[in-house]
């Protein structure tokens, strides 16, 4: 039991971090970032390159992932989404653009890093063992703690800084924020960069444990969509709740349903359907008009 809860918490912390980036971008731009999973994979590969190829310490790799992805995110917003959002008649056009970017990043990753599974050596050795009731390698604990620290840092950023306040205002009402003198374009770009950076950071964290490969992008995006549907799209608390709930469900499901084969996600999806029938806006989302 303790083991399952610990696994769930560990998974949930990472998931919440991925969902946070996605939900931030969604709330600011009303754009569903299909390329989020690819950004996560790219972050993993950047850390891999810095740590395993150049032999630099892990923390440098993590910072490099964050910087590269923030630049990519800002560029994508400035040069791709902004002109398309300004000129298209239907908001769905941005989905086509996002899908195009997802394919593009896939191609870039394939050309730059190849299609092999990549990983970096363990950053901390040893296994935490509490009487065989709870067994957890130290590196997983470290990653879990780092992820939770980042979530806390992100919340602090959104709550207590000027930029965070501006982004929250944007998410609430774009027009009103603009009328109050918020530089909408600047903070949209900043928000997109921040969201992409979060994806890159998770990729950098996870490359030490599970490694990364090219095919992980799509499934990661899908998990992130699941999370923000559970929690409610565009709400920060919802993304965190969704991440932890999905992590717990996955951990519990894998243990309980192992006897019946690989049906955990099937059960999760079926329960999501029932849940959405009663609450289409998710746990904390706002009902739409």
């Amino acid at each position: 039991m303790e083991q399952i809860l610990a696994n769930g918490l560990y998974l949930g912390a990472q998931y919440a971090l991925i969902a946070l980036g996605l939900t931030l971008i969604f709330s600011l731009m009303n754009v569903l970032n299909f390329a989020h999973g690819q950004m996560y994979v790219l972050g993993g590969f950047v850390t891999y390159t810095v740590v395993a190829q150049f032999g630099l310490p892990f923390i440098v790799g993590l910072v490099a992932s964050a910087v590269v992805l923030a630049v990519v995110g800002a560029g994508v917003e400035r040069f791709l989404f902004r002109p398309v959002v300004a000129r298209s008649k239907r908001e769905e056009s941005t989905m086509l653009l996002a899908a195009g970017i997802a394919f593009f990043l896939d191609a870039v990753i394939l050309l730059l890093f190849g299609e092999k599974q990549r990983g970096v050596p363990k950053i901390v050795n040893g296994v935490f063992n509490w009487d065989f009731r709870l067994v957890m390698p130290y590196d997983r604990i470290l990653i879990g703690v780092l992820a939770i620290a980042m979530i806390a840092g992100f919340i602090a950023l959104m709550q207590y800084t000027r930029a965070g306040r501006a982004m929250r205002a944007l998410a609430q009402d774009r027009m009103a924020a603009q009328l109050m003198g918020v530089d909408v374009e600047r903070y949209s770009m900043l928000g997109f960069a921040l969201g992409a950076m979060l994806a890159g950071l998770v990729g950098g964290l996870l490359v030490t444990i599970t490694g990364v490969n090219l095919g992980m992008g799509g499934p990661t995006s899908i998990k992130a969509f699941l999370m923000i549907m559970i929690g409610g799209a565009g709400v920060i608390s919802g993304a965190i709740a969704g991440g932890f709930i999905l992590g717990m469900m996955e951990s519990i499901g894998l243990t309980l349903l192992a006897a019946y084969g690989d049906i955990t996600y099937l059960v999760i999806f079926a329960s999501l359907m029932v849940f959405l029938a009663f609450r289409p806006q998710g746990l904390m989302g706002k009902p739409w008009g």
């Binding site: 791709l80 593009f104 799509g218 969509f225 999806f269 289409p280």
Partner: protein, 323 residues
């Protein structure tokens, strides 16, 4: 206007049934049959996606129904020995029934929320196919027999495909016929009372409901027709490739169905057909570029969105505006 339309349709039918086989026979490029057959079938599935766009929903879950339809047909043919021609409508009906079950809760969602749910649905369909015993897991179902003979009172309507000298041509005709029938149905739906009601849903659902349109019933109906198209396209695909795996239709395929509709234009019944043709041939032509294929393809797609954010058919809009 009407005669012009009839002429256009006549020209199209002649083109696909006579001109294309003739051109292929003359040029000797037999491999084009396979490409064109795929285009025809994919455009049937895209037609379904287009119909959900028509009621104002973004459907990225068509791959799930194509996969389900394919499995229904494959299982019925291999284990129960049912004729393929009977499994084709059965696959469609199964998918339509499934989509009613799934659609009732999820069609209450809108916009990106609906898009996300349907995207997840594709992935879940793949996982289901992997997990269920009847689908034979990752190994899939292989060596499915070719479609058999159909005859009424001793009169052969459709010959046994295994005895044909050129099954590629037969498959081409089969797929094109299916495509023509599906688009004729779609055109009929759009230009009927049902189509007008669907347009009212697309514009404003609350307003439509307030003047007495049964929105809940209509959107489930449109979604199930859409899934029916997905199911038969999937079943036909399985008959041609004679095999099906859980990865036969995946998220990328679902996204492509959506892209076909976008590219062709959402306000035009034959848009998805044009979009499928362009996307599929574009992808095929880029095959020669080897490992840069995906890079060039996606760059072109992004560039297209930057230049024409409202789809290819917005070119015609601009012409109309100048007059």
């Amino acid at each position: 206007m009407n005669t012009q339309k009839l002429l256009g349709i006549g020209a199209f039918v002649i083109a696909v049934y006579v001109a294309v086989p003739l051109a292929i026979a003359l040029s000797g490029r037999w491999d084009f049959y396979y490409t064109l057959t795929s285009v025809a079938l994919l455009s049937v599935a895209s037609a379904g996606v287009w119909l959900t766009f028509y009621i104002g929903r973004i459907n990225i879950g068509q791959g799930a129904y194509a996969l389900a339809g394919g499995y229904v047909s494959a299982i019925l043919v291999t284990t129960a020995g049912v004729s393929f021609w009977l499994t084709l409508p059965l696959a469609g009906v199964f998918c339509a029934a499934l989509s009613v079950l799934i659609g009732l809760p999820i069609l209450r969602l809108r916009g990106v929320y609906f898009a996300m749910v349907t995207l997840v649905l594709t992935e879940v369909a793949r996982l289901t196919a992997l997990a269920l015993p009847v689908t034979n897991g990752a190994k899939g179902i292989t060596s499915i027999p070719l479609p058999g003979e159909v005859s009424i009172l001793g009169l052969t309507l459709i010959p046994d495909f295994a005895t044909l000298g050129n099954p590629k041509l037969a498959f081409y005709f089969m797929a094109v016929t299916l495509m023509v029938i599906c688009y004729a149905c779609l055109w009929r739906i759009v230009n009927s009372r049902l189509g007008h009601l669907c347009r009212s849903l697309q514009q404003n659902e609350e307003l439509a409901a307030s003047i007495g349109v049964n929105t809940a019933y209509l959107r489930v109906l449109a979604y199930s027709i859409s899934s029916f198209f997905g199911g038969i396209a999937g079943a036909m695909f399985v008959a041609i490739s004679q095999s099906i795996y859980p990865s036969s239709f995946q998220v990328a395929d679902s996204v492509n169905f959506m892209l076909n509709c976008f590219l062709g234009g959402l306000g035009y019944v034959f848009g998805p057909m044009l979009g499928t043709l362009l996307l599929y041939f574009g992808w095929d032509l880029l095959f020669t570029t080897g490992r840069y294929q995906l890079l060039i393809y996606s760059s072109l797609m992004i560039a297209l969105m930057l230049v024409l954010p409202n789809g290819l058919l917005s070119l015609f809009d601009r012409k109309g505006g100048r007059k």
